[in-house]
Amino acid sequence: MGQSLIWYLKEFARIEWIKKFLFAKTAPLVTPSYFRGFPEPTGKICQNALFCMMVCPAPGAIEVVHDEDGWIPRIHKGHCIRCGFCVEACPNGILKSGRILETKEREGTSLLFSFRIAIDLELCTGCGNCCTACPVNKVIDAQMGAGGHSSNDEVIMRVQEGDIVVIHEDKCTGCKTCEVSCPTGAIRIARILEGYQQPVQEESQ
């Protein structure tokens, strides 16, 4: 009896066990580099395309501001949810977070923006302000007059016989200048965002 008790004590009082009991710690936890953190600048130059602000789902998380070095997106911690959409949407790759940019490159994924122009014909007076205000129209037809009339078929929209006609919706860049210039609030621009992946090239046999 006495002997077996001593045996048990000896068995359980192993130095390694006592050390482990007193000093064991899980290995220091480091955040792996591939975890998505708050987006950080890569140092490339921001073109103020604002795709990051357009795609961000969190209120007040990102803002593109102008400082002495030019435009730069600023991420607000406490608002940003680290989703990484801004990193993915930026056409110039000026933000980075985890391995989003590498994955995007490897998989050939991107986010496509397109815009729909909706005009409420009940409200539209056919004044043509939107057509003359549109910066894309200005480049295509510099001669466009105040009434929004144009003989150029390449413009986004023009006034024909008193009515507004949208011809090339696909050229719209979503600047919404037309919305601001419309006196009756008849024109609205909707942004459409879709995920896209480049088709894999078939291996030649």
């Binding site: 899980t26 975890f35 949810i81």
Partner: protein, 151 residues
């Protein structure tokens, strides 16, 4: 520094008692706080214990965007905690209201309007390591030498 203060610092650094309160969240942050208890992160190895009783607590973790039901109640919980004490805001919700802070919504963030907050952990949700770091940092900044700084 008196010897008594030194002993208190030593003991306090290894005995932080935590209570948490959810003032209206999506539960994402609650899950991350729960993950701190799991063996992977194991907060007890740092001498941090979760009791969820404000009378025993040193640190209050506040989660959520502060819904109207918590008016008065959160301050009551805060007052029940004996000094020295610190509140830590966990996640975007108590800092900004996160996605709940929309027009016409009822939440009333930030929580620091209602009780004093010693540290904020941004993220939606923040990682358990970040939560741990925040608790350890208030331990060092609020509890060390507390008696000498508050005579």
């Amino acid at each position: 520094m008196t010897i008594l203060q030194r002993i208190k610092n030593k003991v306090r650094a290894r005995s932080i008692h935590v209570a948490y309160v959810d003032v209206g969240s999506c539960n994402g942050c609650d899950i991350e706080v729960l993950a701190c208890l799991a063996p992977r992160y194991d907060i007890e190895q740092y001498g941090i214990f979760v009791h969820n009783n404000p009378r025993e607590a040193d640190v209050l973790l506040v989660i959520g965007a502060y819904t109207p039901g918590w008016e008065e109640k959160l301050a009551m919980v805060w007052e029940k905690i004996p000094d020295p004490k610190a509140a830590v805001a966990i996640g975007n919700c108590p800092i900004s209201g996160c996605l709940f802070n929309r027009r016409e919504s009822f939440v009333d963030p930030p929580v620091k309007k209602h009780i004093p907050i010693a540290a904020e952990v941004p993220g939606c949700p923040p990682r358990p390591t970040e939560i741990l770091q925040a608790i350890l940092s208030v331990r060092d900044s609020v509890f060390a030498n507390w008696e000498e700084e508050h005579p």
